[in-house]
Amino acid sequence: MVNINELSVVVFGSFIAMCMLSTLYGKGNPLYSFAEESYIGFGTALSAIVAYDNIQKVGVAGVQAGDYILVFGLLLGIITMTRMFPKYSYLSRLPLSISIGSGLGLGLRTSVFTGLINQVNVTLYDLFNGTSQVLMVRWVITISLLCMLTFFIYTIEIKGPLKYTAMIGEYCMYIAFGVIFAQTFMGRLSLFVGYVQDNMIPPWKMPYFFGAMVLVLIIVIILDKTGWRERLTPED
């Protein structure tokens, strides 16, 4: 038995999603604007509430538990609010710079290993031991890496053998771009299939899904043909 809560989520969710997809009609329309701005409003409100909750649980609860160093954190948070007062807005740079500095420090300390040293280690390591499949992968990675690096040499004129390795490196990059594009496409398609699937299965959802689809399409076509589409669509 479907409860009213679940039903309202499906009905409203299908309608809003179809409003968003109405952009595929090829022209801006008020239903799309409505859905888009609703999402922005919802996202902002939810982030604000969750952030407030986080201050309570981490900051206030921490101070109550005797972790008084967190008072400085709360104070810095309050100082950030000075951005709203032009006369004192310069103060807001202080918490911002602390945040950027600590973030950079924490990130750089480890990114050197995950992004560079360890990557070099596994790329240029053990090229002669392993199964034929493993060796093939390692050699392909090593050769394409070296060729691509020669493509990015800017300090000398690329000629002689370097010209050919740079060319191979360039084609390796094209292949990599193609792979990334295909993975991106696969991901976006997964989202679309997942969304439609979620709105069609179990079968009791189908009438609402198709109903929303037809309703939104009819409204957009009517608005377009009667000239109301342009009048009702807010400007960016």
Partner: protein
């Protein structure tokens, strides 16, 4: 006036047909193949087998961090992987702490719990004793770093505002106390988990969105990420290995056929380009 009526030119039609035809075709094909009870073949990749083996080695009582690092907009892509992973952890009777890395995802754990309600009940999972929901406790790099070195001072309360000392988390002190971290990223927050947990030695597995596979794969090569599932396809493979027919396998028919349709449109577009657009540019 000077216009001449031309006959139908197939190549011209291929070159400049209305793109809404693509959208409509994709939608119709998807709906048809979601409803058809076909079961197209599926090959399980090496990564999925590794991912499965890591989950399969979890012992009853092991503490696992389950990180919803995904935005609601990307949830559909990871849903099958999230549900299949959670299903396995429940079957293995792990102690699960669910944590959120994106504020908008606060309601997503509820969807997963609802889907697996039967297993939660069958395995007798109790809040506090077997699982805890921490909410948006990892707001940034600093909070992840703090929890990796001193959990008790970094995370004091659960999502409902109750102290974590009333739960199984009272025994957690730092990164060493976690048997596994399962992360489901749609953005770059995963790097904090790699930097502060995985690099120290906590085993980390991921189910990432398609766009991120190229970023995650090098981390698998260096061993910071033990195994990964790529997009819905990875989730479907895990469902296949588990022998459960979940949302991933359910969507694979439509997913596979839509790729063929897309390849078809790419070929048609290229025929139109070379046989009409490019010829006219020369002429």
């Amino acid at each position: 006036m000077g216009e001449t009526k031309q006959g139908f030119n197939l190549f011209k039609a291929f070159a400049d047909y209305d793109r809404r035809i693509i959208h409509a075709t994709m939608m119709i094909v998807m709906i048809i193949f979601l409803l058809l009870p076909l079961k197209l073949p599926l090959i399980v990749s090496e990564q999925t087998n590794k991912y499965y083996n890591i989950l399969n080695n979890i012992k009853p009582g092991d503490k696992v961090l389950f990180v919803f690092d995904c935005e609601p907009s990307g949830f559909q892509e990871l849903r099958s992987g999230i549900i299949a992973t959670m299903r396995m952890l429940l079957e293995r009777e792990a102690k699960i702490a669910v944590i959120i890395g994106v504020p908008e995802s606060i309601a997503l754990p509820g969807i997963v719990i609802d889907t697996l309600q039967e297993i939660w009940t069958r395995k007798g999972y109790e809040y506090g004793k077997n699982y805890v929901y921490l909410g948006y406790a990892w707001a940034n790099d600093a909070s992840v770093s703090a929890s990796a070195t001193n959990w008790q001072s970094a995370i004091r309360k659960d999502y409902y505002g109750d102290p974590i000392t009333n739960t199984f988390l009272k025994d957690v002190n730092d990164w060493k106390d976690w048997a596994l971290i399962c992360d489901f990223p749609t953005a770059h927050f995963y790097s904090s988990i790699i930097n502060h947990y995985a690099l120290r030695g906590t085993p980390l597995i991921m189910n990432c969105i398609g766009v991120m596979i190229a970023l995650i794969r090098p981390q698998v090569d260096i061993g910071t990420v033990k195994a990964y599932l790529g997009s819905t396809r990875g989730g479907a493979e895990l469902e296949y290995v588990l022998g459960t027919y979940g949302p991933g396998l359910q969507s694979m028919n439509a997913f596979s056929v839509l790729h063929y349709v897309t390849i078809g449109f790419v070929i048609i577009g290229n025929i139109g380009y070379f046989m009409y657009t490019k010829k006219n540019q020369r002429g």
